[in-house]
Symmetry: C2
């Protein structure tokens, strides 16, 4: 499984990373069932996770205690509450597994050490941050400019695997749509 992480890093940094195995040794392999809480808002986010297999949900609660999903992240991607992880402040978001997962976790201390001792690792962080930011920008623009129906069409076009893989309830909360409305609109396509 760690091959997935190894490939991911090599693809991004090329072969000039002498210390690849040293870097990899800082990650802890975690196997989880579905519906496992990895982070609760209020806690300090201790890990950055690399998802080798499975799917994570990043979510908050609205004023009526409904879950609203800020992001869904699948295998071959990184997931964390970066703002808490970076600053040490309490997290404002929750993270849980929505499928059985194979994760590789690196904690804050090892992350800092890697950042200092392996110059290229700093690049990895920048890439995680940039990718997260890119994703956020894209997502804001969809919310500001698209109707519920168009957001569903967008999802079907750009993340079609999610449509078949995840529950309607989760997808609806990811799109900011009521689940009944999601069901209704989906049937009219």
């Amino acid at each position: 499984m760690i091959e997935v992480l190894r490939n991911h890093i090599m693809k991004r940094l090329g072969n000039d990373l002498d210390n690849l195995d040293k870097v990899l040794s800082n990650f802890k392999h975690i196997t989880t069932k579905r519906n496992v809480q990895l982070l609760q808002e209020g806690e300090i986010c201790k890990y950055v996770y690399f998802i080798a297999k499975g799917c994570l949900q990043v979510y908050v609660y609205d004023k009526d205690f409904n879950e609203t999903t800020r992001d869904i992240v699948i295998e071959d991607n990184w997931c964390s509450e970066l703002l808490s992880f970076g600053s040490g402040n309490p997290a404002t978001e929750n993270i849980r597994t929505v499928e059985p997962c194979e994760l590789f976790a690196i904690d804050r201390q090892n992350f800092q050490i890697m950042m200092k001792t392996v110059p290229q690792f700093d690049k990895v962080y920048k890439q995680i941050l940039e990718a997260s930011y890119a994703n956020s920008v894209y997502r804001i623009n969809t919310f500001v400019s698209l109707s519920a129906l168009d957001r569903i069409k967008w999802l079907m076009e750009y993340r079609p695997t999610l449509m078949t893989r995840l529950s309607s309830k989760l997808l609806a909360s990811y799109l900011g749509i009521n689940k009944d409305v999601f069901s209704r609109l989906k049937s009219k396509l």
Copy 2:
């Protein structure tokens, strides 16, 4: 005016920046009227702007060619289309001034040189990116979880100066609300 930029950088990096003046010399001072286009989608974003005075709008168009505002940035903050600036790919967003502005712009080449030769400058970039990301996350969570009325209340609470300073049309597009609806809801508070 450059004092604003100097203070901004010093506040974040402390006094251990020997090369402060060298860094500052890489910025070009720009004075603009309102409604000046700084970046058009499709172009490569050449500059990162520091806003010493004034206000910028980052926006895209929806399918009916209405402007939808991804972000509004005021003085003492940085603004750019970071993804294009960083990668050299065409920008997917537009930027314009919404007030007369005093800006300090640094181009990609000088930015790269600074990143390499002034270690602390790298931190500045990371901070810009992190601040942008934090802002985006916050904004997504507002969109996914709040109604139009609650978004207006949120704006009044957390960015009250914007309410008086900017046009309703712009604020409405920032909140993802039709301008007529914005006017109606505002009067009912």
